[in-house]
């Protein structure tokens, strides 16, 4: 059995988890076994509908609604053992990063994080993963009996079919050593790693007061917002928007870079984007070498026009 762990974000299953679900179902097919999902906590949607992604069963452990890496890892590992799972799939998300390594130790199961493709099972179990901050890929063999893979967001397309999953809900408890003192939400932020389109801007925007046009462009595209490191360092934009080698690594379908020179450390975090558009007034900006489409021009003139053209066309 292939067990897929689904992140439960305040009762909702996120897109990256649905990708993991489809991925896990495809791995199960490859291995000639079935795929089952595990979700911890209460969920607001109908879990049986997850059958459309190719899982036969959804195990729900109810009653536990505060994430705790230690407690959750035990629940996941126990479910894997109980179901005799040969593969456990996570999304390489915030909670996946906290959980998968712990489950790996509990099950003594080799873990590959940041997977970008289905495993090659022709000779063992070899997983392709992103390394060197997106500048290369490594093919990593898992040698243990149980395998754990955590899938990069946006690396595998969730496929919808027909089907309904059996939902088995059982009560669970954990004891946590971590007390959650408070939670604060960042306003209006679309999760960057999940965004299919990202609009990003750099020092070329001159100052934080000029971000209005960037936000408008992002709005018409329903895009996430990102920035270069100096922009976050100068506190023009919040840290969580900083993309690159030392910030967030992303792989959207479309990355629009405005007034960003394209330094190697910046490219490292964004070069897995499927399509890159660069808008820069300097024709020699290194970013053009990594771009698919480009406009050489002043962002202050080009961006409002681009926003208007997109609005007109939609």
């Amino acid at each position: 059995m292939v067990l897929i762990y689904l992140d439960n974000i305040n009762g909702a299953i996120k897109k990256s988890s649905l990708e993991a679900l489809s991925y896990g179902a495809a791995v199960a097919k490859q291995l000639g076994t079935d795929a089952q999902a595990l979700v911890i906590g209460d969920v607001s949607s109908d879990l049986s509908a997850l059958g459309q992604y190719g899982v036969s069963k959804v195990h729900q452990l109810s009653g536990v609604n505060e994430f705790d890496a230690q407690g959750f890892a035990r629940l996941v590992a126990d479910k894997a053992t109980e179901g005799n799972a040969s593969v456990v799939v996570f999304s390489h998300s915030l909670s996946g990063k906290a959980l998968a390594p712990r489950v790996s130790v509990r099950l003594k199961a080799g873990l590959v994080t940041g997977a970008v493709a289905l495993p090659d099972t022709s000779n063992g179990f070899v997983v392709k993963k992103s390394v060197f901050s997106g500048k290369a890929f490594a093919n990593v063999r898992i040698n243990s009996a149980i395998k754990i893979v955590s899938l990069n967001p946006n690396a595998f397309t969730a496929v919808l079919g027909a089907g309904s999953a059996e939902v088995v809900t059982t009560a669970a408890t954990i004891s946590s050593n971590v007390k959650i003192a408070s939670v604060s939400k960042s306003s209006g932020a679309r999760t960057l790693t999940e965004s299919e389109i990202v609009v990003s801007a750099g020092r070329g925007m001159k100052g934080p007061e000029n971000w209005g046009m960037i936000e408008e462009l992002a709005d018409v595209l329903n895009a996430g917002l990102a920035c270069s490191r100096p922009v976050a360092d100068a506190h023009w934009r919040p840290h969580h928007e900083h993309v690159g080698q030392t910030g967030v690594a992303i792989a959207p379908n479309l990355y629009i870079a405005v007034g960003i020179s394209g330094a190697i450390q910046h490219l490292a975090g964004v070069n897995r984007s499927k399509t890159i558009v660069v808008i820069n007034k300097d024709p020699e900006a290194p970013f053009f070498k990594a771009a698919d489409y480009g406009i050489v021009g002043d962002a202050f003139e080009v961006i409002p026009k681009l926003t208007a053209a997109l609005k007109a066309g939609s």
């Binding site: 994430f67 909670s95 959980l99 390594p101 790996s104 060197f132 063999r141």
Partner: protein
Amino acid sequence: MKILVCISKTPDTTAKIAFTDNNTKFDTNGVQWIINPYDEWYALVRAIELKEADASNSIHLISVGGSDAEPILRKALALGGDEAIRVNIDIDDSYTIATQIAEVAKSGGYDLILTGKETIDHNGSTLGGMVAELLNLPYISLATKLDMNGSIAHVTREIDGGQELDEVATPVVISAQKGMAEARIPNMRGIMAARTKPLSVVEPVACDALTSTVSFEMPPAKAGVKLVDAENVAELVRLLKEEAKVV
């Protein structure tokens, strides 16, 4: 309080990424090595700040690697570590590395074990969680802030769409990312002092590697940029719709 900071040696951020031996090995030719930025800028610097606030805190550094990891440990000592430990095994299986660190930590009596959120070469994000599980300790991942109040750590970590403030009694394992501290450069006094700070080498414990790297690949090269005139943004919109099919 005793703090253990995990230090990884990584290629400089501008290093040329290439592979040798039929794409099975990273080409180290001409590569400059640095302390993994997440380990240095965030985990180590925050540990140093905690020591500056309370001189009774001590900072131990650990790196699992060959003798070529020693210059990196010396640099971390120059920044402000008190002593360093190198576990003498060069391997890229994170389970083996975590096992070595956990082994040293078991007898070290550490209150805080800090790592960077990931290394910039393997991009694993695995070490902290594995060490925590091996030691049966709580783990706060992707932390952006860390303050101590007696033996209670107040840690802010990134969650989907926001931040969470956690309170946890030591010992605890924490992985650090941007926000935790600001990068520093070592000064001359630190560099001189580092030369005589203790750096011990311990032999690894036996451990079966759970993973092994088979080969590397480079991403396919881009076809080259298509430039659109600044006066004709509608053409860009058309290309994005009809050719790239992304909007």
